[in-house]
Symmetry: C2
Subunit: 366 residues, 2 copies
C-alpha cells in the first residue's frame, strides 16, 4: 500500500513538472548541425522534462536525426533556410536575415514559444539579436557575456567576456550582482566571492575604470548585496580564488582567450615532447590515464556556454567549436537557469536598483 | 711572425673595446642579494667587456661575494643602506629613500657612472625612479615596460606591460616603433612584424583605444616606419605570429600574468597527474628529458628582464622572483642594448617624429 502510494505521488510530481522548451540554433558553429543534434539527442534522453526545437534547414537536421533514438515528442524541427556566417557583420546579418536559424530561434523565445535559446554561431549576431529580438530586462544597463571558466578550485564566472568593450563603473557593479545570482543558483555556490580583475592586489592599483569601480563594489559589499573580496590578479585566475570576476569586455575577452591559447600551446608542446623519442612515447602511454583525470577539471565544456545575462529570457552562446558535450551541458545549464528563475531574480534586483537610483535622483532634485 | 701580429691585433681590439658598466640593484627582488650576486658572477666570468657595480648593503653583498672567483676589477660594490620594499608606495619610496639601492643605482646611471641599471625590485619604484632620476628622451611621450615573451616561434615583445594603464592612441603608435627598434637590434629580427592586441581579427573590432590606434599604425606602415600586420587575438599570442605587440599597460599586464598563471597551473596539474600512481610516476621519469627539451623555449628568463624603453639610459626591470639565470641574461641584454645604441636610435626617431609634429602644427597655424 505504501509503495503504491509513493508510486502515485512520484508520477504526479513527474507529470506536474512542466517541460522546459529550448530553441536550439542547429546551424550555428563549426560542427553544425551534426554535433549540435548529437548533443541534443543525448540531453533529451537524459532529461525527461526537456523539450527541444531544432531550428535550421529542415532537410539537413532530419538527416542528422535519422535513425537516432529519443523519446517521442522531445525533439521537433522548425524550418529556417538562412544561416548567419561566422564572419558576417552582426547588425547587418540580424537585420537582413530574418529567416536565419538564429533569428527564428530568438523570435520563438520572444513570443514565449521557447524558454531559452542556445547557439554556437556568430557571437556578435547572438549579442545583437539577443538584445534586439529578446530584449533587456528593465533596469539592466548592459547585458554581459558571462562565461564560467574552469579553475583549480572549480568554476569561476568571468563577466563581461566581450559584449561591452568600453564599459563604465556602474556596468561592472551591476555585473557583479548578476554573476553572483548566477553562481549561487545555477552552480550552487553560497554567498559567492566577487573579485575585480586588476594588475595588483592593492586598492590603489588599476586603470581609471577599476579605480572608479572599486568603491562601488565595496559599497555593495557593505550593504550585503554582494560579497566583494577585492582585486584579482590575472596570474591568480587559474587558481580560482573567486567565484565571480568582473572586468570590461575587452579585458575579459583577452583573459578568456589567453587561457585557451596558452593551454592549447602548452599541452601541444607536452605532447610533442612525449612523441619525440621511443622511450618518451612509452612513458606517455603510462601517464595518459592519470593525466586525463587531473586535466578533466579544466574541461570548459562541462559548464555549458556563456549566457548573455540580463535579457528577458535566457540566451546562451556556446563556443564556435562546440561539440556534443558542450551542447548537452548548455541545455542542462538552461534548465537550471529556468528552474531557478534567474531571470526573475535579476529583474527583481535591477528593478530595486533602478527604483533606488530614481528615488536618489528625485531627492537630489528637491 | 704572422701569429704574433694576430696576437697583438687581438690584444689591441680587446683593450680598445670599452667596458660596459652596469649598476645592479643588489637588494631588489625575492632572492636578493644571493641570486643577484650569483648571476652577476656568472656574467662577468663570461664577458670580459662587462663591469658591474653591485649597489646595496655592503656587508651583505661582501658575504655573497666571499670566496667566489671572478676577474679582478670586474665587480665593485657601492654601499647603499636603504631598501625599497616590494609593497611600498613607489612615489613615496623614491622621494624619501634617497640612499636605497635602487635610487643610488639609478643616480649612477644619471651621472654617467654606469651605462645601464637592472633591478628585480618594486616595479612601480623602478618606473617612478627611472622616469624621475634617469629621465625621458626628448619626444618620447610615455616610456613603456616592454617584455619579451616566449612563444612557439621565438620571442615576442609586448608593450606596454604595465607602466601606462590608461594610454592614448599616439602612445601605442610610438611604442610600435620603440618595440621594432628593440627587436631588430637587440634580438636580430629583420623588419619585425607589429600587431595590436585585439578581440578579433577584423579591423572594425576592438574598443575605442584600438579602433583609434589602428589607422595610426596603418599609416606608419604605409610610410615604411614599421611593418604593421593588423590585429592580434590573445589566443594566438603563445603561437607567436608577431615580433612586437602593442596594447595599453592594463591589458599588457593581464596578458603577461595570464601567461604565467596558466602555464604554472597547467604544468603543476600535469605533474600532479604524473605523481598520482606508480605506473604514471615511472612514465613521468621516461618523458622527463624530452619534456624539458620542448618546454625550454618557454623559459622567459632567457630574454632577460623588461626594459623601460625611451629613457636617456637603459633601465631593466626583472621579475621579482628573478634567479641567477635571469640576472645573467639581463646583463647580456643591457650589453647588446648599449652596443647597438638603442637609446640613440630611439632618440633619433622620437626627435624626427617631434619635429614633424611641430612642423605640421606650425603649418596649420599659417
Amino acid at each position: 500500500m505504501l509503495s503504491a502510494c509513493c508510486f502515485f505521488r512520484y508520477r504526479e510530481a513527474y507529470w506536474m513538472e512542466e517541460k522546459i522548451r529550448i530553441a536550439v540554433d542547429a546551424m550555428g558553429g563549426d560542427h553544425a548541425p551534426g554535433e549540435i543534434v548529437k548533443g541534443v539527442i543525448k540531453a533529451v534522453n537524459r532529461k525527461k522534462d526537456l523539450s527541444v526545437v531544432l531550428v535550421g534547414r529542415q532537410e539537413e537536421i532530419a538527416a542528422c536525426l535519422n535513425g537516432q533514438a529519443y523519446p517521442q515528442g522531445s525533439i521537433s524541427v522548425r524550418n529556417a533556410q538562412e544561416v548567419i556566417g561566422m564572419a558576417e557583420h552582426p547588425v547587418e546579418a540580424v537585420r537582413t536575415k530574418k529567416d536565419s536559424s538564429l533569428c527564428v530561434a530568438l523570435g520563438m523565445v520572444k513570443r514565449g514559444e521557447a524558454d531559452a535559446c542556445i547557439s554556437a554561431g556568430n557571437s556578435g549576431a547572438v549579442l545583437v539579436g539577443g538584445q534586439g529580438i529578446v530584449g533587456r530586462i528593465r533596469g539592466v544597463k548592459r547585458p554581459p557575456f558571462a562565461s564560467v571558466m574552469p579553475t583549480q578550485q572549480g568554476g569561476m564566472m568571468l563577466l563581461d567576456c566581450g559584449a561591452n568593450v568600453d564599459a563604465r563603473p556602474e556596468h561592472l557593479a551591476q555585473w557583479a550582482k548578476l554573476g553572483s545570482i548566477y553562481m549561487q543558483y545555477v552552480e550552487g555556490i553560497q554567498n559567492p566571492r566577487v573579485g575585480i580583475v586588476n594588475i595588483g592586489a592593492e586598492e590603489e592599483k588599476g586603470n581609471a575604470l577599476v579605480k572608479e569601480t572599486f568603491p562601488l563594489l565595496k559599497e555593495m559589499d557593505e550593504k550585503g548585496i554582494i560579497r566583494f573580496t577585492g582585486s584579482l590578479e590575472a596570474r591568480d585566475i587559474p587558481c580560482g580564488p573567486c567565484d565571480v570576476a568582473v572586468c570590461d569586455g575587452f579585458v575579459g575577452n583577452v583573459v578568456i582567450k589567453m587561457y585557451e591559447g596558452v593551454a592549447k600551446v602548452l599541452l601541444a608542446e607536452v605532447k610533442e615532447g612525449i612523441y619525440s623519442s621511443t622511450m618518451s612515447k612509452l612513458g606517455g602511454l603510462m601517464i595518459k590515464g592519470a593525466l586525463k583525470e587531473t586535466l578533466k577539471k579544466f574541461d570548459a565544456s562541462r559548464y555549458g556556454g556563456a549566457p548573455l545575462l540580463g535579457l528577458k529570457s535566457l540566451v546562451v552562446k556556446m563556443h564556435g567549436s562546440a561539440k556534443a558535450a558542450e551542447v548537452e551541458n548548455a541545455l542542462y545549464q538552461c534548465m537550471q537557469f529556468y528552474r531557478q528563475d534567474i531571470t526573475g531574480k535579476t529583474a527583481m534586483f535591477a528593478g530595486e536598483e533602478k527604483a533606488q537610483a530614481d528615488a536618489e535622483r528625485s531627492q537630489d532634485g528637491i
